[in-house]
Symmetry: D3
Subunit: 320 residues, 6 copies
């Protein structure tokens, strides 16, 4: 612990375009320094079609210069509640998937031991698996998962570890409780009618876009909260849950997605949950020349940070 001030740079002193881009213009930190650790995992070795999410953390850092301090709905700044810093990128090896998964796992064990709650930026969705391996130590966690895809394939191209399989592996490995798992925003044609069978058979709640469209954000989130309950829960936000007109810079875009207004409504309804970590994945800057997807991602991160900070702060107070 140290005396560092964990505040974003003052945009009335250092213009938003100046300086080196860290997440949210926060100081560089170690997990030991902070309550919430902003971490990049620049790895896309699990990608089966269009690559590029390895460039995600850098560009999201860049665009996060446009974020500000205080949430306009609550009037509260996460930086007033907890210490938040940019912990940099985890070690990875772009030529070795297995080694990368190990070093990611090791890094998140360290985060857990430091007592920080990680808010991660990918990278492709495979990274959720080594993150959970590093993070989960006392039995499976719940999951609120925003995505166009279920990511519960058994394998792809004969490989069990890729961005279509992380949550199946996580269930198999006892990291994830499928009965406390809900996936929201699913849509798009599938390669096989049986693609959702595993999820259904294990009790994962699948909320397709059609159901979401009928019920709306509030109702869906009430159910999601009931599913995960008060126990430790992970949040995973795949940027492709958003409509491709909003977030084109991703590897597997699916039309007919949710809007940012809907996404923000949902994220604000995460308040009070016991969030043990969150990630935002699948932003691919080479397919996002305008930076719009990365800017959206940075703002989604801020929404996640706000609910995480509130929850951590509340629990701290309760403990005291």
């Amino acid at each position: 612990m140290n005396d560092k001030v964990f505040e974003p740079l003052d945009s009335g002193v250092v213009p938003r375009f100046a300086g080196m881009p860290t997440f949210m213009r926060l100081p560089v930190a170690t997990p030991q320094d902070v309550d919430v650790a902003l971490i990049g995992v620049p790895f896309d070795g699990g990608t089966t079609n269009r690559p590029g999410t390895r460039h995600g953390p850098r560009e999201i850092r860049n665009q996060s210069s446009l974020t500000r301090r205080v949430h306009h709905v609550t009037g509260i700044s996460p930086y007033d509640l907890v210490r938040v810093g940019d912990c940099g990128d985890t070690p990875i090896n772009p030529l070795d998937l297995a080694a990368s998964m190990e070093s990611i796992t090791r890094y998140y064990s360290g985060v857990r031991q430091a007592g920080a709650v990680p808010l991660t930026v990918g990278g492709d969705h495979l990274i959720s698996l080594p993150i959970l391996r590093g993070l989960v130590d006392k039995g499976p966690v719940g999951l609120i998962h925003f995505d166009a895809h279920s990511d519960t394939f058994d394998s792809f191209f004969g490989s069990r570890y890729n961005h279509a399989t992380p949550f199946r592996r996580a269930v198999e490995e006892g990291l994830l409780d499928p009965k406390r798992t809900v996936q929201i925003g699913l849509r798009g044609a599938i390669s096989d009618a049986a693609n959702f069978d595993y999820a259904r058979e294990h009790g994962i709640r699948l909320i397709f876009i059609e159901e979401f469209d009928e019920r709306g954000a509030k109702d869906v989130m009430a159910e999601a909260r009931a599913i995960v309950g008060d126990l430790p829960t992970y949040v995973s936000f795949d940027i492709d849950v958003l409509d491709p007109s909003i977030a084109p810079g991703t590897g597997t875009p699916e039309i007919g997605g949710i809007t940012t207004r809907e996404a923000q409504k949902m994220l604000r309804l995460l308040g009070g949950l016991d969030i043990v970590g969150a990630d935002l994945v699948e932003v691919s800057p080479p397919f996002d020349p305008s930076g719009a997807t990365a800017l959206t991602a940075a703002t989604i991160m801020f929404e996640l940070l706000c609910v995480m900070a509130q929850s951590i702060s509340d629990r701290k107070k309760k403990r005291n």
Copy 2:
């Protein structure tokens, strides 16, 4: 008829970025081979402002590599119900509008004689006229027409054949029954207050975006289905019916359009109609550098293909 398997390439064997891009990664075929013929008409000689739809079929083939086999709502694959193949592009002459219209007409006569139902990708909207000329032989068909524009001008620049006139010509030529025609999503300023007079006087039902916005997809489609009834019906989808934030790559974008979620809802309500053909037009790749419009178009094609396949399959069964 032959032993060819009319299935998309398996994306777990041949990655989506590999191989030559055919529509939906399907085999190359002739209309004789298939029940549904996917056809390109790379012609934009009827365009009055921004050109480029001649490049539409190629880029939509390219982006259609991202589509999959099974519809996530019905759980049914069109490829299990009917034979579908990529029949390539019709002959056209980029320097001769009249010759192009003739060769398109001739091509679609062949499609009709082969007994295949065409699902066409343009090209500008003028192509609907020669398609209907080739396709319609037993009296006028009905039309469900998704578009920002009515395309029932009498002439433009003194020319009676361009992308603002196809449906007026089709009514005049007895190819289209105006009383069984409905246009959905109309909007945008017009050059003359009388622009919709022809359509109104001949009984075409005009559903502007404002009415659509009030009533919603379900209600509007119930009326549309009633209008066309059980008789043979053509479906024409101009990509500019979608909002330009979703489909920027088109020649005459109009803000305030429908979303893909709304479009998908409507297209899924075409089920059971006697669809004798469909087209998707006005995708202009030079104005679509990211490929987003073409990807949207490919997914719309898949939605159309699903309802067409179901309907053809049902009718086949009934006949047996």
Copy 3:
């Protein structure tokens, strides 16, 4: 006054891509010639982050070639009701903020004296201040302000004149009546929880996107109309009120914005108000490579023009 015909070029004679781009393809004019003066203010010296709105007027002129004559809902052309012309750009000095503000103010005094109602295209939002200084002579006006941001900061980087402060200055200078001011579409994190205090303390009505989302366009506009009443009212439309997926080309994009369908609904409900002027600001072409934002802006201008023309025409008739 002269014999000039104040009509857009006929798009059936001069194609939309031909000729020099004026606003709406209208004749070049002076404020003396017209009832509604379309004016550019190519100034971005008040911008604190991403620059480029100095290029706004030119690109919006370019994209306005796609607009047409007659509103499709009312069936009325503004050009049938009043004289409208492109009065060019105001003088500005890109190296001198104070001098630019003075020359803008002087220009708008001239517009007022000529009896024309200005519809301005920026430029950054600071320009609203010198416009109001030139335009307002008989006591403060009301304001309907569409924006993601309140723009009522006291200062930024120690400067009292920049695109975050115009409306606070306008209230202080007696140009704007805060009790007859409503801001719609506000959202996005803020740098300080006190950012909205000035507005609230002075009676400006703040309608955040969350409230807008609950109530809808009609209800919100009913309140907005009640707030400004029958007295002289200015309308300011910051393009960043729209969602960045629709209008990416702006300096301070905020996700979760309003759609063009919502915006158009609201603008059409301005009818009958005593609009003394309007502006559309913050379009930054360097961040809008596709031109989509400028095309959207041009169409928003047309919507504003239609309500302004109707209102001016009605008042003229009443006076006669």
Copy 4:
């Protein structure tokens, strides 16, 4: 003739980004007003592959805002020597090639009768034919032709009038003297070994890039000047003579082209010739998102203008 000042706007008073873009920021004029008439021909109906040159004149006008008054090598301003103005675009019909050719021809007859020398911006290369038809009245002219392609095909897609045939037609019609014609910069594979036979048989001098590369700009231009001699000569500059890294925005790019330094050297060696007109063609803005090709074209125009102005001025003096 009138009192108008034919000077570009002063860039120290009106910033380059302000105002409506005319060619070189010059006043709008008629051919009667000026010695050199800058004219746009926004027509691409002769294009056989990638369209879009119809948008050329507008975007070149836009980018020409970056040009200045005085040539840095000679220290002379063309605007001091002759009157130059922007005469707008010729009438064309985007749906009718024959009608467009007629109206272009008619327009250039008028230019000739007005005594102005035209400097035209296309449009595709077919436009050189109707320009020459309108311009040439006293026997065939010579031609210095910068291009990657010879454009002396007999026909394409069965059509004798397209952008691959203008100079063959011009020879056949007695507009062009093939013995006084030189083509510089030719390169790129051809569809048939016989493609250059017509040119060779009729005495057109073909200078391929390989010969140009060996000899250099000075030597080649000495020969070109000898070929056309003192008699009336037309200059045609197809932007695709430049390397595609410099001028990507064109329909038929060929790698291995000339650089702008080489082009400028050659153009400056046109001095003193009896240039009866010049054109710059094949700039296609939809394939030039950055505007680099249009900016290059505008600067090439300025180089052409300088030699034309000097030559006209010298001849005027001689006559006096």
Copy 5:
């Protein structure tokens, strides 16, 4: 062998924008069908920084629609000399580097056994190694290698197989004779002063851009020809040997590269060598939004094809 005609589609019948894009618009073929096999290897698993070359083959096919039949310098068409076809893409596994290398090797063994000479499009530069493994059976071949980088690292990120190591591995494995190897166009800072030691110690001739700049294409190629002599030689063209202004779409651009005019001169001087295969690698479409790099690559392929076809044809005649 069969009766298929191995000619590109006639661009006067099927426009260049129409139809499915194969390499050079040639028929789809198997290695058994042809003398020269055009093959794609869509694999970028060996890439250490910016990915995307997996998309290379498809986009180069697309852009190769702009190539033509007959070389303009020799007046000879490769298609008149030998049979050439598009053999599609090799099998690869985007998630498994080792498996991909094996399947590539296996594929090229088949090509060798079929007696076809392969002209390959990558993919990243690692693919040269499995290609050589499959192709070389009777002792090491020579290599003419155009590249900014030597690609003779021992390892990167602890991995011996990646796009920085293929030619060291090839020497070690006896596939490549370092004394008959020449690398042309090398440049750019290096991570370690020892980076070129291996190449130098084993007798590879390194021609840096500075030497090339002094001596010119002819002189350098005379030496290169002397180095490889009459024995079997492979040609490898990394697109990054070209200047990034010409070929921006690549993962490791280095400024100060060779021009296309220089490249074409060099490639034409490969005539008569015993070329057993060639590849063109490192085109990354996600970093090439305009397609300029892919178009350049397609034209380079045509140059390679011309010298290969001539050489094969000459050897065939000699044997007869």
Copy 6:
């Protein structure tokens, strides 16, 4: 002074796409820490046309991740010779030109007092003036200035401080010795024939592109070295000296520029001069969507760093 290692991150451990982008992947430092201080000045308040160079430092940092350690011609790493670090951006005020100039001046006084030699990245060219004000304390320095423009205007828009005037002001203020000043690469039309008078009258040596083209890099640099001699010399590199095909991302592009091969040759001939500082200016990322200009700038920075490091190291040795 401290124990920090002033080495770039090892690209075989931390991939180039990972981590926060500092210049050359170097540690963050203060001027006190280093021999060569890499500094950003994100200010474009002196820009008269297209803005955006305020974004230059960040994007050049980003692209500099692609640079490496050792110069391939000399085999020497600047990081082995001297300590180099990223000192961040100077304070500036985007709304106040005078205040920004003062804070830049103050910052560079500090750099001078710390004994570091600054290598600066702009920002627009005005920044050279406050840099020189801060840096020069013992009489005027010499200047080698690479630029398309002389930047010796007296004023623009009535302002004496903008990016067209810095070197005139520097001469007037006794910071620059005009007789020891040489400008290389000048070109492009000028607004007034007298534009170069000041420079000529004061003995500045102007080398236009035409002279450069005749004489070549070596000869020109021999003269440049003679002009500045052994006395303290500043180097200023305006990215627009390069051809716009290479460096499109700048505010005032001029065709016909120098190539990177020519630029690198010239920069390498700066060796041994007494360089007291250098800057690289006018990179405007909003006009450089591909990042090509910023990557070029980063590599130019590395070339400058190498000669500066060598020179500083040599002088240090001499002193010892």
